[in-house]
Point group: C2
């Protein structure tokens, strides 16, 4: 507990966090390149302040490797391919590496033909889908990324978990303004927010759940043993989740709905999640400088619009960029639930000294 107490009083720079996590994963037996890619994605996610999907997930990913649910030596392979698309077989390889491979392939194809879709089957948990969308930005492309998940969400008229929280993420380059970036679940809210309120004995701010009878409730007491998340905006979120399931699972041929097995549970089944990635090569379609000038003008018009008395208008992603800039300047104060997982990772891999040295 001494190490945890120490880290709670310190901060870590994203580059140091990434380096430590790469080394720890390699010590745990991962190939160096798979460790490096996974660490980069998860440490970047922490730098955005999305800690639920950051480095805290490494320990559970490594447990999946030990349990044979993820094959750390495998690599994704091409199952079908055309000028503007590919279907990858994830071969149950390290899912974050697979997702990076898929998005890079979408970008490469979009460079040739303007837009490309890459679907992935036989994969697992990829962290925050948003990371892969942002991979399009240095190429001046629009990126989109989405994945299905095991079921946590009910649908209108139903009760109990039926669908995944099926996130939608995108990134759009701009000119002198910051890029636009969104990563949202199609459920009312992330599961972690429900569990946090429950741990504090609090009611939810809105009716984000249904109870055992399928009635909307703001009481998290019996969740997740009973009830399920509501879709965002009722039938609208449900409809978008069905689209995500189609793009990520029905087209690539991944598991769907109850066929997806939760990567975070202590079960032997492979997750068999599906993902979908889209890259749009804007510069092939319209002069890039004009597009960027239009994006800047749109961003400025939205930010300059009339506001509520205490209001500030954020563009999608603006909060994440601000947190990232601050993280690079001052380091990140990681929350306790992340540090507990990192200390556990250090104990599992005998890297306590390296972890302590990464924090300042």
């Amino acid at each position: 507990m001494q190490l945890l107490d120490d880290l709670l009083r310190k901060r870590v720079f994203p580059a140091d966090l990434e380096r430590y996590c790469t080394d720890a994963m390699e010590r745990a037996g991962l190939p160096r390149d798979a460790a490096a890619v996974s660490a980069r994605v998860l440490a970047t996610t922490d730098s955005w302040g999305i800690h639920t999907h950051g480095t805290r997930q490494i320990r559970q990913l490594l447990k999946n490797v030990r349990d044979g649910r993820i094959d750390a030596a495998a690599r994704a392979s091409v199952a079908a391919e055309g000028a503007a698309f590919a279907i990858l077989d994830g071969n149950h390889a390290m899912p974050i590496v697979t997702a990076c491979t898929a998005m890079e392939l979408a970008i490469r194809k979009a460079r040739e033909v303007g837009i490309a879709y890459v679907g992935v089957k036989r994969s697992s948990h990829i962290g925050a889908a948003g990371y892969y969308a942002t991979m399009a930005l240095p190429h001046d492309m629009v990126g989109m990324a989405t994945t299905n998940t095991d079921p946590w969400m009910t649908v209108p008229g139903g009760k109990g978990p039926i669908m995944g929280t099926n996130p939608i993420a995108y990134a759009i380059p701009a000119g002198t303004e910051r890029p636009i970036f969104l990563d949202i679940a199609t459920s009312s809210v992330a599961v972690t927010k429900i569990l946090a309120a429950k741990a504090l004995g609090k009611r939810l701010p809105e009716k984000w759940l249904v109870d055992d009878a399928g009635q909307p409730t703001d009481d998290p007491t019996n969740y997740p043993a009973q009830g399920a998340l509501l879709p965002m905006a009722g039938h609208k979120g449900y409809g978008l989740a069905v689209l995500v399931e189609t793009l990520t699972a029905m087209i690539p041929g991944a598991a769907f709905l109850s066929g997806v097995k939760c990567w975070a549970f202590d079960i032997p089944d492979k997750a068999n999640q599906g993902h979908a990635f889209l890259a749009i090569n804007v510069g092939a379609m319209t002069p890039l400088a004009e597009f960027k000038a239009r994006m800047d003008a749109m961003i400025r018009e939205i930010k300059g619009a009339p506001k509520t008395a205490d209001g500030r208008i954020y563009l999608p992603g603006e909060m994440e960029w601000e947190r990232q800039e601050r993280a690079q300047r001052e380091g990140i104060a990681l929350p306790d639930y992340v540090l507990v997982n990192l200390v556990g990772l250090a104990e599992d891999t005998g890297t306590q000294e390296a972890l302590a040295a990464a924090f300042r």
Copy 2:
């Protein structure tokens, strides 16, 4: 008023409604083919029960033609093109015709390369975006369609209208089950629902609006003179609306945000809306029969899931297909606000007898 009273007691079959509307638009001076395409789209939309976006809009579209805001003799032209994309210049032609042309082009390109995007600039109101998504179904493709609109919606931290209601529509083929179909605004609700509650002097069932100070309200009394629609699901709907604006306007080079001029207002400016269409040729990516079997299995698992005591689970689009089947069997009882517009169209074009003859 005698004609209106008569029609209120009768029903009209979709094919008869389409034939009458084609003839009336031709009488109003539209080229026969443009009239036929527009009538087909709008009568089909009525057959789905989406009457706000059906044939009631013809009279206002013709006013746009008379006022020079729409050029009925023009046709869309290709501004840029590649293997998997095209940008069309709508040339302010009949917008429904332009949208059909764009979706057909996306389908043609997707047949070759797997997926294709077609963006459109310098266009106007296209009715229900969902129609164009369904055009992919006979080709065993997934279709998506979206458009920006003039601003009706605020964003988190803002007040007053900043963005359009920017709808998202898709259609997905299945096997023996019905296709899946969704057409939603990214705002909390359609403007028409607010105005209907206001006309009845009722409160809204939820806080769908912000008032003049930007505070959420269920009171429609001062709308639309003051206040604006909220996005669906807060920052999530806002983020999706920004994505729609990018795909429909920022890439094609259409007007955006306050630059879009409402087609339904009595103003001289051309609307200059932008649209985006996507076609995904599933059979190029995965064996089509297997995809369709997976879709059927997903549909059956969702429909067979545990339900609330009084619940029935609908798939997206199931209500529209049921209404359409009933319309084809029994005819449609059009609501009064549609009939008022059709009677006005008949008076404008001297086609009262033909309108009366179309109803049974």
